[in-house]
Symmetry: C2
Subunit: 367 residues, 2 copies
């Protein structure tokens, strides 16, 4: 087991990463204050891991909350099921909410914990690669609104994140790839040596080699924790974590939640950010292609949906959270391993990026 | 105009109190960062003050959000109307949400501001005495759940509180009295000299004498700010602000939201807390009666609903937020002007308090 401490003053918390941590009662006991626990999970994850976790928590009064699976359920109606269960079982202010599942479960359970009686304890046990390296670190929680993703939520820190790498054995390969989009992102925005490590180890990771998984998750969480430490409430530098996300959110919104996986949309969005950085002369075409090649080796899409024209992107990007007073700001690469957030680019470069022929650009970059 | 600074580090904010502050553009301009503003109000307050406030904000893009009036609308469905309006008008992260109305509006607008894009700026303009001295100070926001009041919410501080005392001219006398229950509470829990001042000035306040109103609101806010400063997240001493509230919440829940006004329930609940403090030998019967007499002079109920038997109280109090690990804790008076939070009392004293004959106790204390 490896442990990383996220340093946020009195809200600091540990991230434990290793094999079979679901069974480690002492990791949980260290971070649970009361006698009541609610495990929030979904219909897919519950049959796999709920009984085991309940057994680990045998000393507590456990309320299981099993939600429907899928991004389309990340809304108030589903969130309400958590509140109903907590109030129905009379959970008090000393209760602990544990999220057992992927990013959707983590976001909803976290927002429920932030809101229940104005805030109760929260522990993340992410079971997908994406949530292990992304949603479980940084304190972002929330739900979707019909007019936009993640528009309702809270910044709320967990008491602990417990990452059991063996849960990835039950993850569909497509979702493993989606998680790798975020892993590769950390290399691109702030850690060029990690990008090199990934180029050498991507096949081991995809084969679920335990040491490679632990190392890649640890380095990803460390990169994110470093950025989050510097800027907890996303007023400045933290926004570099959104490389590919502005384009990616537009893809997700346009296609309808859940059609493209989040990581898939981020992958195609990252290619667009790479292309734009290239057009601005900040990175070279070979550097752009090096990154695209790694995304392809991770079995990720590198071409945005054919039916999305520039005006579709622009429409969806106008309600993006990174719009400041009507001015669009994007995360771009100054060089490989160094991202910047900027609104200072010619509009025609954005338009050229939205109109580029990504099929032709990427077809010779064999996966 | 009097100004009180609430000192909470980087989240400090001013409370301005005075006549016709709704028209003072510079007070708002000082605390608004962007160009977008949403005014959240209700169907009762909008015809009285919305146009005037909109005129004061003539330099901004203003989105009015007019909600139905009443505690029974303090729920997710109504909250959603705020999010719909913010997203419909494309409010970004630099927007400011202004609450114009009573406690329900403040609680909902505050929770909406806390949750919209994970937190945007928030200004309180409370228009009822209750919200001026209570809900607008302390950062509590939230909505009700069918199984309990204020069960879903956030601790979220406003950028400013602007209290226009002339709005009390349009407040029904019954609601003015309800606000006085909280004003009197501050004297009881932490400021005996203020209680004496209230005994001398209660008639001027009820006649809406401007100087008396400003003074009573200022001293109430100062008392609350002092307690909140010491304990922002209600882990300890802050709970003394809930004098009368545990019994009062039981009354509100049992009678159905809105049948008894919050302040009315708090008044009857305060009498019960006084009686229990008396039975414990902490205050004397004449001290208890002194406080009851002042509540009666404020035209407040001092007898709980006749149909509520002890078991009804106990049932509702079991889901109260002050229940810690199943142990009931109550706010009681060590002496007039000094409250304590304690779970250390014989159960039979609680039962005797719930069974006492409040009609007989109070009927000789002429209003």
């Amino acid at each position: 087991m490896q442990t990383l401490q996220v340093d946020l003053g009195e809200r600091s918390y540990p991230i434990h990463i290793g094999e079979r941590l679901i069974d480690r009662a002492e990791l949980l006991a260290d971070r649970i204050r009361g006698r009541q626990v609610a495990i929030v999970t979904n219909e897919t994850v519950a049959p796999l891991y709920l009984d085991r976790l309940t057994q680990t928590l045998s000393g507590y009064a456990v309320t299981p909350v099993i939600l429907p699976d899928g991004e389309e359920h990340k809304n108030w109606q589903t969130l309400q099921l958590i509140f109903d269960a907590l109030l129905g079982a009379r959970h008090d202010r000393n209760t602990t909410v544990i999220a057992l599942g992927g990013g959707v479960i983590g976001d909803m359970a976290g927002y429920a914990a932030a809101s229940y009686q104005r805030g109760v304890d929260f522990i993340q046990m992410p079971t997908t690669l994406l949530s292990q390296v992304d949603s479980s670190v940084g304190g972002k929680t929330g739900i979707n609104h019909p007019l936009g993703k993640n528009m309702i939520g809270a910044f709320y820190q967990p008491r602990a994140v417990i990452i059991d790498t063996t849960t990835l054995a039950t993850l569909p390969p497509r979702e493993l790839s989606a998680g790798l989009a975020e892993v590769i992102k950390y290399g691109l925005i702030c850690d060029e040596p990690f990008l090199g490590w990934l180029e050498r180890n991507i096949d081991r990771i995809r084969a679920l080699d335990s040491a490679a998984l632990t190392e890649s998750i640890h380095r990803s969480c460390a990169a994110k924790a470093k950025v989050v430490n510097a800027d907890e409430r996303e007023s400045g530098v933290r926004a570099i974590l959104n490389l590919g996300h502005t384009f990616g959110h537009a893809i997700e919104t346009h296609m309808g939640y859940g059609v493209w996986l989040h990581g898939e949309a981020v992958s195609a969005g990252t290619v667009m950010a790479l292309e734009m950085s290239c057009q601005l002369g900040w990175i070279s075409p070979p550097e752009r292609d090096r990154a695209i090649r790694l995304l392809r080796r991770a079995a990720l899409p590198v071409v945005p949906p054919a039916q999305m024209k520039p005006q579709e992107f622009l429409k969806h990007m106008a309600v993006d959270k990174k719009v400041l007073d009507g001015r669009l700001r994007l995360v771009l690469l100054r060089q490989i391993g160094e991202a910047v957030v900027t609104g200072d680019f010619p509009y025609d470069v954005l338009e050229a990026t939205l109109s580029a022929d990504y099929g032709a650009m990427t077809e010779h970059l064999g996966a």
